[in-house]
């Protein structure tokens, strides 16, 4: 029962943040809504028993990637979006279409996965030692490849963002 209430609170925060991201016109407000979404998702991961994933979601997503977003928004300082005329056809077709699509998806998901899921409260399954073992034994090659990927990303970012010294 409390599990359901906690899930509903965090899910409401997530959906509220996501809708706020769409509705807000200045990118900084959208960025802060996305921080809220990532934070609530970390708490939902905790409800599912993945404590390590919740911690790295906070550290990486909410604490580094989103700080980078906010940094770039503050640096570029381009201001709020301009108003454009909404297309009436798009709203007439789009909103019902979206509701129809989401209802279909919900009905399919609810009928195909009916069982109670997740974990007993307090039983945390995704612990760090287990993940470490998997990461360094079964998934060692993807791990090393991601280190190369990050190196390439760093070099690419430095080269692309450098002021051309002509």
């Amino acid at each position: 029962m409390s599990h359901l209430i906690l899930f509903l609170i965090f899910a409401a925060l997530c959906v509220g943040g996501a809708i706020n991201l769409l509705v807000q016109r200045h990118p900084i407000n959208s960025a802060l809504s996305l921080v809220l979404v990532t934070g609530s998702l970390a708490l939902i991961y905790l409800l599912l028993g993945a404590e390590f994933v919740a911690a790295i979601q906070i550290i990486i997503y909410a604490g580094a990637v989103m700080v980078l977003f906010i940094f770039v928004i503050m640096l570029l300082n381009a201001g709020a979006e301009e108003e454009t005329k909404g297309s009436r056809v798009a709203i007439l077709l789009g909103v019902p279409g979206l509701i129809l699509g989401l209802s279909t998806a919900t009905w399919v998901l609810a009928t195909r996965y009916p069982g109670p899921g997740s974990v007993i409260i307090g039983q945390l399954h995704g612990t760090a030692p287990g993940m470490g073992r998997l990461l360094f034994r079964d998934f060692l090659l993807p791990f090393e490849v991601t280190s190369v990927l990050i190196l390439i990303a760093i070099m690419g970012a430095v080269v692309l963002a450098r002021r051309g010294s002509d």
Binding site: H3, E51, F52, I58, G63, V67, I70, M74
Partner: protein, 367 residues
């Protein structure tokens, strides 16, 4: 439903829910009260020590030895006019100091201050998130260190949003510089702690301390793990994380008026101020836990003294760190910004990675 929520918070199945919640609330109240008092009196200590180092007295008039100076400062802050400049982004302007202070105060919930304490019939570890398991062992959150790192990285938002919402050139520049500095040194901070994690084998802070109990030889900077280099990297990264001299370019009076808190006054400024000192205390607590053996020290006497002496040893270590912070503040000039970033990325980061390599060798040789 309350029972399920308490189970989520770590209560063991056979405990009484009401007692668990009461104990938790009492621990939180005492810890936050002590933390805020330490924050207030570290300001007093700073002014006295800096004064004596500069061959003057520091505050002496308010109370004996100026001991009531923090009280006077608090009253001053409350009574000042809380001015909100007209062109600021109001929501973010009010949110930023709250974020900074909340993140600074949250980390103390995970720090273990002592072993079990027994009051009447209740036994509980001296740690807000610590619980007593079925076989009378104190237990902790399995990922305590990761949560502290996460909360530290969230603390950047307070500064970034303060600078942005103030709608002023100096604030924005100071905030950008301070945020860039903080996220750069977070990397070195985290990596310097990886050595301790490799040696201890757990993210739980209580386990890390319990491995270091015994004599000072067992601390992590000595025979426990030979983490001396990591300790110094941690110290320097912590100075940069808390924006203290020699890394305080982002809020220096001679550089950027006052950096990201230029436009703040009264209680909001006091919140930034308290957040800075609370961050110092958190970093000091973390350094004592990870490197200097937590609460280890001679324990003797009647049971009530045996419960309280570990707290005393822990606070002694925290006091030494705060004194070190103040000492360095008065001794060193501040880094220029490019020197600061170069130091973090080109020196501390490779050094911390080298430390991880050497620690791996040590762990492999010991096993």
């Amino acid at each position: 439903m309350l029972r399920e929520a308490s189970l989520l918070l770590g209560m063991h199945d056979s405990m009484n829910v009401g007692m668990f919640l009461l104990v938790a609330i009492i621990k939180i109240a005492i810890t936050v009260g002590v933390l805020l008092t330490i924050v207030a009196y570290s300001v007093w200590l700073e002014r006295k020590v800096v004064g004596h180092m500069q061959n003057r007295w520091g505050p002496t008039r308010v109370g004996p030895f100026g001991l009531l100076q923090p009280l006077a400062d608090g009253i001053k802050f409350i009574l000042k006019e809380d001015l909100t400049p007209p062109y600021v982004n109001r929501t973010l302007f009010i949110l930023a100091p709250m974020l900074a202070l909340v993140m600074a105060l949250t980390s103390i919930a995970l720090v273990p201050i002592g072993p079990n304490i027994t009051v009447g019939s209740v036994t509980t570890p001296i740690q807000i998130t610590g619980v007593e398991t079925a076989n009378n062992q104190p237990a902790d959150i399995g990922i305590g260190l990761l949560i502290i790192l996460g909360v530290t990285s969230l603390g950047v938002y307070g500064i970034a949003l303060a600078g942005w919402s103030s709608n002023s050139k100096y604030s924005l520049l100071g905030a950008l510089r301070a945020s860039a500095q903080m996220i750069s040194y977070e990397v070195a901070l985290g990596l310097s702690l990886v050595g301790v994690l490799m040696v201890s084998g757990s993210f739980s802070l209580r386990t890390i301390v319990e491995r270091q109990l015994g004599s000072p030889w067992h601390w992590n900077i000595f025979n426990g793990g030979w983490q001396i280099v990591a300790f110094f990297i941690y110290l320097m990264a912590a100075f940069a994380e808390t924006n203290r001299i020699p890394f305080d370019l982002a809020e220096a009076e001679t550089e950027l008026v006052a950096g990201y808190h230029t436009e703040y006054s009264s209680m909001k400024f006091a919140m930034f101020f308290m957040a800075e000192y609370a961050n110092m205390v958190t970093v000091a607590c973390l350094a004592s836990v990870m490197f200097l053996g937590g609460w280890s020290g001679p324990v003797f006497g009647p049971p009530i003294l045996q419960s309280l002496l570990p707290i005393l040893w822990f606070l002694a270590r925290v006091f030494c760190f705060i004194f070190l912070y103040i000492w360095v503040r008065d001794t060193l000039p501040r880094f220029r910004y490019d020197q600061l970033m170069g130091f973090g990325w080109k020196f501390l980061l490779p050094l911390s990675i080298a430390n991880i390599l050497v620690t791996g060798l040590i762990v492999a040789l010991r096993a």
